[in-house]
């Protein structure tokens, strides 16, 4: 008796999921371009070395205190641009440092391409397999907490090998977050494309930065 109603509900749910997915990827593409623009501006202006720290403080403030209040309104889109613009601005001094290396531009392009390949492959896998990766949530957040505690200790110990291990661990954890976030969108766990975009953007940003760090240290030059 309830079959047509159930079918209609399923169709509505699929349509809604596709809409969230489409909006998320559209907003992610635009914010990545915006980030690249602010990074370029920051490079041209030769902003000082403390800028990444200031930008990260600003972005985290927006993510924790402003985004949750605006995510369900159009203002949330402006906040996403604020977050991604600030993080892009923070990338400038770091990219300028890499460009001073003899193979700096190659490292940046390889890291950018590598990040793109990892993101496309993992998103494609989550989208085609349609698996539910929600069970990874606990493991990923514990991994993140362990990485933060180790990074905190390494600020004072300054062990280069530990920095490399941390970068490798962050790339793996963020790869896991791409699977987790994409599966949450597909399976209806995330209905807000603004929050979904920020989650995926942060994974991409962290993979890019840490891949660049790994390549920079381990490259032959």
């Amino acid at each position: 008796m309830n079959r047509p109603v159930e079918l209609a509900q399923t169709q509505t749910s699929v349509l809604e999921t596709n809409k969230v997915l489409k909006n998320t990827y559209a907003l992610l593409s635009v914010t990545l371009l915006f980030s690249a623009l602010t990074a370029f501006i920051s490079m041209q202006m030769e902003l000082p070395g403390y800028m990444p720290l200031v930008a990260t403080f600003g972005a985290i403030g927006l993510i924790w205190f402003v985004l949750p209040r605006t995510a369900n309104s159009a203002a949330g889109i402006g906040v996403v641009f604020g977050i991604t613009g600030l993080l892009g601005l923070g990338l400038g001094p770091m990219l300028n440092n890499y460009l001073q290396m003899s193979n700096g531009s190659q490292l940046i392009m390889t890291s950018l391409g590598g990040t793109g390949v990892i993101f496309l492959a993992l998103s494609g896998y989550a989208l085609t397999s349609r698996r539910d990766f929600s069970f990874m949530g606990g493991m990923l957040i514990v991994g993140m907490v362990l990485v933060l505690i180790t990074a905190l200790a390494n600020i004072f110990m300054a062990i280069p090998a530990l920095s490399l291990a941390l970068s490798a661990a962050i790339i793996l954890i963020m790869s896991g977050f791409i699977l987790y976030d994409t599966s949450r969108i597909i399976n209806g766990g995330e209905r807000n494309y603004i929050m979904a975009t920020v989650g995926l953007y942060l994974s991409l940003y962290n993979i890019f930065v840490n891949l660049l760090m790994l390549l920079g240290v381990l490259s032959d030059d």
């Binding site: 985290i60 890291s111 590598g114 069970f135 990874m136 907490v145 905190l152 600020i155 793996l172 390549l215």
Partner: protein, 59 residues
């Protein structure tokens, strides 16, 4: 110690303060996974490790 290190440490401490209660919550509410589920995660992550290794070799 320069102020950059102090602010970096402060940033990480703030992140930990924010994350820890959420981590407890997520661990409690995460669904249990089967061996098959873990395999479905491990394979792509091993491929990511291999890909990063290839990138390192290429530069």
């Amino acid at each position: 110690m320069d102020w950059m290190k102090i602010f970096s440490a402060l940033l990480i401490v703030l992140m930990l303060v924010y994350l820890l209660p959420r981590a407890k919550d997520m661990i409690k509410n995460s669904p249990k996974a089967s061996n098959n589920d873990w395999l479905a995660v491990l394979i792509p992550l091993i491929l990511v490790i291999g890909f990063v290794f290839l990138l390192i070799k290429s530069v």
